[in-house]
Amino acid sequence: MSSQKIAEKPTSKNLIAGATGDWEVIIGLEVHAQVASKSKLFSGSSTGFGAEPNSHVSLVDAAMPGMLPVINRECIAQAIRTGLGLKAQINLKSVFDRKNYFYPDLPQGYQISQYKQPIVGEGEIEIEVDGELLKIGVERLHLEQDAGKSLHDQHPDYSYVDLNRSGVALMEIVSRPDLRSSKQAQAYVTKLRTILRYLGTSDGDMEKGNLRADVNVSVRKPGDKLGTRCEIKNVNSIRFIGQAIEYEARRQIDIIEDGGKINQETRLFDSGKGETRSMRSKEEAHDYRYFPDPDLLPLEFTQSYVDELQSGLPELPDEKRARFMKSFGLSGYDADVLVAERSSADYFETVAKGRDGKLAANWVINELFGRLNKEGKAIEDSPVSAGQLGGIVDLIGSNAISGKIAKDLFEIVWTEGGDPADIVEKRGMKQVTDTGAIEKAVDAVIAANPDKVEQAKAKPSMLGWFVGQVMKSTGGKANPAAVNDILKAKLGL
C-alpha cells in the first residue's frame, strides 16, 4: 500500500529538529462524525440540535427495562455511502457489539458499537500538502451510539445529565498511522469533512461537536521502529488538531531527549493553554468486555443494495476538481477553492455553464467570495444568485460593459437586486463603442490640453493620462480599446 511507502520515506521538510537530531512524528486519527439522519441509530428520537435537555429521549435512549434497539436503516445507508466515498471495502455482513462501561451519561451501561466486524473496511483519502500528493489509508469505518452529556455546572452539589445525544449515530473513521505532520493531519480532516459534506452523510459541523477527532501521536528517529503513542481525546477544531499535535510531538521529543520514556496514555487538549494533559494511563484503561449485542442480529445487506447507493452518489471533490481543470481550463488552485464546498462548486458550475470558465471562476472567487467573506455570509445566503452573476459575465463577454463597470454593476445587483442586463440598459451603463462619439471626446481632450500633447510626443507613455481623461469625460463607458486606438492615431504615436 501507498501508506507503507510514506512511512519508510519521510520527507525531510516534515522532520522536527531536536537536540539530538531530527525527529519524525507519526500521527493516526480517529474521527467521529455524526451521521446526518433525522432519528437516532436505534430509536425513533429526533437528532435535532439545541433542544431543551432531555426532550429527545425515547424509552430506548433512557435504557428503560425491557427496551430493545432497532436499527435505523437510513444510518446504515449513510455509512455505506461514506464508505463508497472513501473508496473503501463495504462489508455485506457486520456485527454490532457492546462496549461495556459505567458512566451516568451512558444509560445502558454499554455503548452499542462495532468492534471486530465493522460495516466498512479499508479505504483511502487523497490529500495535497505543499504540492505533495499523498494517499492516506483509512483502516475502517464503524457505526456506534453517541453518549449523553454530563452537565456539571447546573447545581452546587449534583451533576445533571442530558440524554438528547444519547443514541445518536456516529461514524468512527480510523486512519492508518500515515500522517507525518500537523499540516497533513489538518489537510486529512479538512478533506474528510469535505467528502462527508459532499455525500450529505454528515454536516461535519465541528462547532456543534458533530465532528471531532481522537489524535494518536508518537515520535521516532527516522528509520527507527514506532515509538509509544499517546491518544489525545476529542479535539474539536482543525486548528486545535494542529496545535495539539505540535505540542504533543514537542513534549514527547523533550521527554525522550531528557532520557525519559513515553507512557502510553490518554490525554486531553486544553485549548486555552494550548497544551495536552494526562487523562488516564494505560493501566487505568477500561476493560470494555466487548461482545456481540444479543439484541441485534448481524447486519446483512446485498451487493445490489450497495450498487443502488453507489449509483445515487454525487460527484466527489477529487473528480470534480479534475473535471473543472479539464473542461474549464482552471488552475489547480482555483479548482481547489471552488470544490472545497459542494455548494460553491454548484454555484460556479451554474455561472460557468455556456460561458468562459476562467472568467466565471475569476468572478466567483475574487468578487463573489471576497464580498461574501467580508460580510461573513455563506454562499447559500448570497444576495447575488448564480443566474445574476452569469448575466454579469455575459455582459462582460459581449463587450457590453467594461470590467470596471462590471464591478459597479455587481455592487448594484448585490445591494438592490435585479436583472443585470436591464440595469445596464436602464442606467445607460453600456460601453460606448461608437467611434464618432469617442472621437469627439478625444478631440475635446486634445484641444483642451495642448501642452500635454507636446509632452506626449516626447514621452509616449503619457498616453495613459489621455486615456484616463477620455474615460472620465465619458463616465467610464467608452470602450477602452477604441479610446486607445483613436488617441494613438490623433496623437501620432
Partner: protein, 499 residues
Amino acid sequence: MTDLTKLTIAEARDGLQKKDFTAIELTDAFVSAIEKGNGALNAYVLQTPEHARAQAKESDKRFAEGKARPLEGLPLGNKDLFCTNGIRTTACSNILGNFKPTYESTVGQNLWDAGAIMLGKLNNDEFAMGSSNETSAFGNVVNPWRRKGKDGKASTDKLVPGGSSGGSSSAVAANLCLAATATDTGGSIRQPAALTGTVGIKPTYGRCSRWGIVAFASSLDQAGPITKTVRDSAIMLKAMASHDPKDTTSVDAPVPDYEAVLGKGVKGLRVGIPKEYRVDGMSAEIQKLWDDGIAWLKSAGATIHEISLPHTKYALPAYYIVAPAECSSNLARYDGMRYGLRVNGDDLIDTYEKTRAKGFGREVRRRILIGTYVLSAGYYDAYYLKAQKVRTLIKRDFDEAWNTVDVVLTPTTPSPAFAFGEKSGDPLAMYLEDIFTVTVNMAGLPGMSVPAGLSSQGTPLGLQLIGKPFDEETLFRTAQVIEDAAGRFPVPDAWWMKG
C-alpha cells in the same frame, strides 16, 4: 355454584360464552381466592383487583354487545418480569424499587388486546435467576404440592415451586389464576411447570416478542405460558405470540391456530429418545416416567428412535457462561441514575457500588461477577467464544436429529420438587436442575413440559418435548396424547385456602 377457579381456560371460555357466569363473577372468584390463599403461597407480589374488575366490566360489556375477543374475560397472572403500564414492575429485585413503567410489554398487550384480565404480578426468582424461587426480593414462593409423609398423610414441609417462574407455576397449580405468563432462559417455564403438575411451553426463540420484558440473557430469553392443560397452553401461546417490529429478533411468521391441531394424534410421528439424557444417577422413577411416555406415544401410533445429541454434556457449562455474560451487560443499566434504587455514596463510583450491592441479591451478584469475568480481556476466547462454539455444536446436533425424528422426548427435570434450602446453599446443585432444559434454549428450539406422573413422594413429574424451530404444533399434539394417557394432576388438598 361450582368453584370457578378450578376451571381451565377452555372451560371458562365456554362458560362465559354460554353466560353461565359473568367475567366479573369469574374475576371476583379469583380475587377472593388470592386474598385467602396468597398468604400461604406468596405467588403474587402485587394484587391488582381494581384493575382486574375494570377489565372484567369491559369484558362483560363486550359479551353483551356480542363483541367478545378470543380471551375475553379470562383472568390471568402476569410474571413480574413483564413491564406493566402504570403498575409496579420489579423483576422481584430491590434494585427496581417501586419502578412503574409507562409502557406495557408486547406479550402483555397482546393478551389484554385479546380480552384477558390481569389479576396481579407474580413472584419469580430475582431477574429470573434461580430454579427454586428462593432468590426473590419478595421472599420464597411455596409449592401447593406437599410430599406424602411416612404415615401416608401429607407432610407440612414446604416445597419449592421451581423457578424462575415459581409464582406462575404455584398460582396456576393453586387455582389463583386460570393461567399465567412466564419466561424461560434455561428452563424457567418448563422446570416449575414440571414441579407443580402444570403445563409449560417455551416457544421457539423469536416466536414471542421480548419487548417490555426485563432482560436476563437476551439470546436465550423467551416468553411462554404456564397453564393447567395442553389445550389452555395452545390457546395462550396463540394470543401471546406475534411478530414485533420493536424486537428485531422476533420472527415475521404467521402464528398458527395451535388449538386446531390438538386432536390430530401422533400416528406415524417419529419420536427421538436421546441417549445422552440418560445421565448417571438418574433415579428409577424418572426412568420409569420416561418409559411410560415412550409407551404412551408408541401405543398412539408413534415410532420410537434412539438418537444421539453428542454435545449435550457441554450444554450446562456453556449455558452458565453465555447467560451470565449477557446478564452482566443487561443489568448494567440498573445503576441508580434514572430509576429504581439509589444509595448515595461519597462519589460516583461509591454510589454505583453501594446501589448495586444493596439492590442485587446474592445469586444475581454471583452471575454478574461470573459474566464480567468471562468477558474480560484475556478470558473472552477461553470462555465466551468457546461457549458460543459449543452452542453452534448443540444446534448442529439437533439439526442432525431432525433428519430422522420429528420430536424429542426427555424428562423435564432430574428430580421432583425439593425443600427450601435443600439446594440453595450449593449453586452447582441448583444449576443441575436445568440439565435437561438448557439445551433447548441454547439451540433456540421450542420445548414443552407436560405433567406425566407422580414421584414416590406423591409430587408431580414432567416430561419434556423438544421440537423443530417454529414447529410448536407438533409439540401441542404430542403433549395432548401424553396428557390424555397420563391424566391431569390437580393438587389433592387446597390447604393454602384454609388460612
